[in-house]
Amino acid sequence: MNRMPVIVVGVFLTFLSSWIGLVAYPYFALGRFTPFTAEDTGDINPPPLSGLAVMGQRAYASSGCVYCHSQQVRQVGYGSDLERGWGSRPTVARDYMRQNPVFLGTMRTGPDLANIGARQPSSMWHHQHLYQPTVVSPGSIMPSYRYLYRTQKIEGQKSANAIDLLPPDAPADGYEVVPTYEAEALVAYLLSLNRNYPLPEAPEPPQ
């Protein structure tokens, strides 16, 4: 193989085959979805994200949550995700059409979050968990995200969105812990993570 054109053409063609299969095909088959409208209820699935939740995606990316948490409920036979209650059905490609970027994840140092909005619908729980994970999750090795919160002096009465904390994590007397905009956005995004709606290509698995 001494001639440059042979090498270049071969290198080009082999690579092109994978480009067609793993880039072009996914773009056409999985990258141009429209949402599904359920005829009886009129629900649009997947539902659109609120503006705050869209900003929350950036907060999720900024803090690197994907390096410990996945967001995919695996197919039947590929894991025990369903039995763990991480979703009512496996996730399919259309579930991610509104996510940008997509945080499928490759590590489960922490549990899967594809349906965390359904499992933990309380924003206070999320704020407590982000501020100090061991408060609501003893034994966790998740670090504290208190850099997303502000400890401030209570002016008059407690702020409406101040977080409930018990000692030793509670602030000093006269102080309260309040989420920053980024924390509010992140929690709004987490609460939006709920793929338990039906889609025609995602049948409920058999019992």
Binding site: L30, G85, W86, S88, N115, M124, P200, E201
Partner: protein
């Protein structure tokens, strides 16, 4: 043998692209002097066993692809899926409310009430044998539905033990989903109470549509308890979407 560094190399041997001045090979490039020749290729043939093994691999690959490709459809995500009968359609037409209820319970409720229904001591009350679930001791089925719809917080007493938590509202779930969860918890872990239907949930939802605050034990105790009339829910899976026969309207005072 050391080349004379001052001798001009033959111009045909390589391009004259000189950026450096005099070359002092001995001083600067002693390593090169002892180098062996650049690598060259040997021409041993490819062993026969290797060729056979690789052809067997290709054959296996083709077979695997044929059997695990879900018909090469972009909507088939599980290679085993093609063998499920009648897979598609809105998943609402689930055969057995208890099965759906179990799945929804596992997805939404076990974080607090646990898969065993026993809750967590001091934090989350149990559902097993709970008078709230079974409609005993002054608790009504209507209270149970209302708890699912609007949540429950503040001090409560369950099976003689006090709890003080905050159960969130689940009104975002559909009527039939709430009904199936309640049906499940009323028939599991030794609990044995009649099922609850979507219509019964819908009625309570309509009656309490103006409620924005979560329930408290005091608030619920102000509402007279109602035991729903038992409705026969077909045990066999219904192939069509017709709902079970409508339950007779429960005799209940208007909600708070």
């Amino acid at each position: 043998m050391i080349d004379d560094p001052h001798q001009e190399p033959h111009p045909d041997t390589f391009e004259a692209n000189r950026e450096s001045d005099e070359l002092n090979v001995r001083d600067v490039h002693g390593a090169i002097l002892r180098e062996k020749d650049d690598p060259r290729d040997g021409y041993e043939p490819i062993p026969l066993w290797m060729v056979s093994f690789f052809m067997a691999l290709v054959f296996w690959g083709g077979a695997y692809l044929a059997f695990n490709s879900g018909g090469f459809e972009s909507t088939v995500f599980n290679p085993a899926q093609v063998s499920w009968a009648g897979g598609g359609g809105a998943a609402k037409a689930a055969p057995d409310p208890k099965v759906v209820g179990k799945r929804l319970f596992t997805a939404n409720c076990v974080a607090c009430h646990q898969a065993t229904g026993l809750g967590v001591a001091g934090q989350f009350p149990p559902l097993v044998g709970s008078e709230w679930v079974l409609g005993e001791d002054g608790h009504g089925d209507n209270h149970l539905v209302q708890i699912l719809l609007h949540g429950l917080q503040g001090p409560v007493k369950v099976k003689g033990t006090s709890y003080n938590g905050a159960m969130p509202a689940w009104k975002q779930l559909k009527d039939d989903q709430i009904a199936s969860i309640l049906t499940y918890i009323r028939s599991e872990w030794g609990n044995n109470d009649p099922p609850i239907t979507a219509e019964q949930v819908a009625k309570i939802r309509e009656e309490t549509v103006a409620q924005t605050e979560p329930n408290t034990q005091t608030l619920l105790q102000a509402i007279p308890p109602v035991q729903f009339e038992e409705v026969v829910v077909p045990a066999a899976p219904a192939k069509d979407n017709t709902p079970p026969p409508a339950a007779p309207a429960p005799a209940t005072a208007p909600g708070a």
